[in-house]
């Protein structure tokens, strides 16, 4: 279980997160929606301390970090319990697909190189890249790179995987293959928090949907409820505006 309590974050005078409370049960898939600048990516990055929250508390199972004065060791432990899939993939450029997945296993988890290799090959096969083991990121398409990114995150066996707009940088054609992989691992019961603009996907895969705006959680609930009968006016506006039919009709 992951529990965030009163997470606050400011960039200079600009308060981006205004006290976020969020609980994610084990095995849950949570989708965070909201307009640009609503703080959803910042919130996600606070969970593994790529962004340093000013205040609040992060609890993962029985491990907890007090954000006001975290020690280095706590941050390190927190990062080992989480994994992240980035919008820009951020694969290690000088390492092959296989090495990218192995890196965390044998540098961080201290698993022997042979064992790490076997496990990494398994994972790359799972995301459909068994034939690209020795390719460098520059030789892979965006969709393939992102699938390597997902395998790299999975390898660490984290308590939670954080997805930061995993399909936003992809060609429309390639979005499908990445979403299919996420959908597949969601079924295995891994806890996931996904920041996304893919409404259909969120509705389909998420077990819980959170709508954020201007640094606060406006509304949250089951996907069916939130998408079909939102309670808050702001949520209604947002959902109406991003409905494709309305946006593209001429």
């Amino acid at each position: 279980m992951i529990k965030l309590t009163q997470i606050r974050k400011s960039f200079g005078r600009n308060e981006v997160l205004k006290g976020i409370d969020l609980t994610v049960e084990k095995g849950e898939v949570v989708a965070i929606l909201g307009p640009s600048g609503s703080g959803k990516t910042t919130l996600l990055r606070c969970i593994n301390y790529l962004e340093k929250p000013n205040e609040g508390r992060i609890v993962i199972d029985d491990f907890s970090v007090q954000c006001r004065r975290p020690d280095k060791k706590a941050i390190h432990t927190l990062r080992q319990k989480t994994a992240m899939v980035f919008q820009q993939y951020n694969l290690f450029k000088h390492k092959t697909a296989l090495e990218n997945v192995m890196e965390g296993l044998f540098v961080v988890k201290k698993i022997s190189k042979d064992e790490a290799r076997i496990r990494s090959i398994e994972l790359l096969e799972k995301v459909g890249l068994g034939n690209k083991l020795d390719s460098y990121p520059s030789e892979l398409s965006g969709g393939q790179q992102q699938r390597v990114g997902i395998a790299r995150a999975l390898a660490l066996n984290p308590e939670v995987i954080l997805f930061d707009e995993p399909t936003s940088a992809l060609d429309p054609e390639l979005v499908g293959e990445v979403l299919a992989v996420i959908r597949k691992i969601a079924k295995e019961g891994i806890t996931m928090i996904i920041v996304t603009h893919e409404m259909g996907f969120a509705q389909d895969v998420a077990s819980h949907v959170v709508f954020m705006d201007e640094g606060v959680i406006v509304e949250q609930g089951k996907p069916n409820e939130l998408f079909t009968s939102p309670k808050e006016e702001r949520t209604k506006q947002f959902l109406k505006r991003i409905t494709p039919e309305a946006a593209y009709s001429i």
Partner: protein
């Protein structure tokens, strides 16, 4: 004026024994400079407390003074310092037992370190911020991320500048003749004093330097191809 082609060749052959000295000075100063430069670059980029102002002062002072001046200051200053220290400690070591080339090694390493720190810094800046975030996200410490992810990429990115540095230090090694180290230029002078054909002797030296530089250029081209292998796709 008549050019004595025969003597150019004779001088060229006579210069060859000085090549190892020139290469040794270059190799030592580049190697030590790279280590000093990497440390300084990392300290300056991450603003390490206490060390940061020292590193910045080092770079501005050393880059702000000529290489020849460094050599003289080390050559005249270091013996005083060493003899003073050994005297007060009651040791029998004397600075006269330091070979002349030792002063060149020390002073040129200090020179190279300052310039090299900027070479390494440009390499570090070329590495996308996402790389270190990804390293942190899989649970690496800053040290692990530096060693395994950031520095290898920074090194590949700084290779062109690095080859500039190596060539610069090779040519700079000629300054060592001012402290009685017989490198290529000094050797040319010695060879020429036998028959006063300085022009031919220095022409031979120039040819030799060009040859060595050409070699360095080829080697970096090979290294670039090897270390930038991962950029070959060019899709991302």
């Amino acid at each position: 004026m008549k050019l004595d082609f025969g003597f150019i060749w004779t001088a060229f052959i006579a210069l060859l024994p000085a090549v190892p000295t020139a290469l040794a000075i270059t190799a030592v100063s580049v190697f030590c400079g790279l280590i000093i430069g990497t440390a300084v670059a990392v300290i300056r980029l991450y603003k390490v407390p206490v060390l940061y102002p020292i590193a910045s002062a080092y770079v501005t002072v050393i880059r702000g003074t000529p290489m020849l001046t460094h050599l003289f200051i080390i050559y005249f200053g270091l013996p005083m310092l060493i003899d003073g220290a050994t005297d007060s400690l009651g040791l029998s070591f004397r600075s006269v037992s330091i070979p002349m080339i030792g002063f060149a090694y020390i002073s040129f390493s200090i020179t190279a370190g300052a310039y090299m720190s900027e070479v390494v810094r440009s390499g570090l800046l070329a590495v996308n911020r996402g790389q270190i975030e990804a390293a942190y996200s899989i649970g690496m410490t800053t040290f692990q991320a530096m060693r395994r992810i950031i520095l290898p990429q920074a090194f590949a990115a700084s290779l062109p500048n690095l080859s500039n540095m190596v060539i610069g230090m090779l040519h700079g090694s000629t300054l060592a003749f001012t402290v009685s180290v017989v490198e290529i230029n000094a050797k040319a002078q010695i060879v020429a004093t036998t028959n006063w054909k300085f022009f031919e002797a220095y022409l031979a030296a120039a040819l030799l330097f060009w040859g060595l530089t050409f070699l360095i250029e080829r080697l970096t081209a090979l290294a670039e191809r090897r270390f930038n292998l991962y950029n070959r796709g060019g899709v991302s």
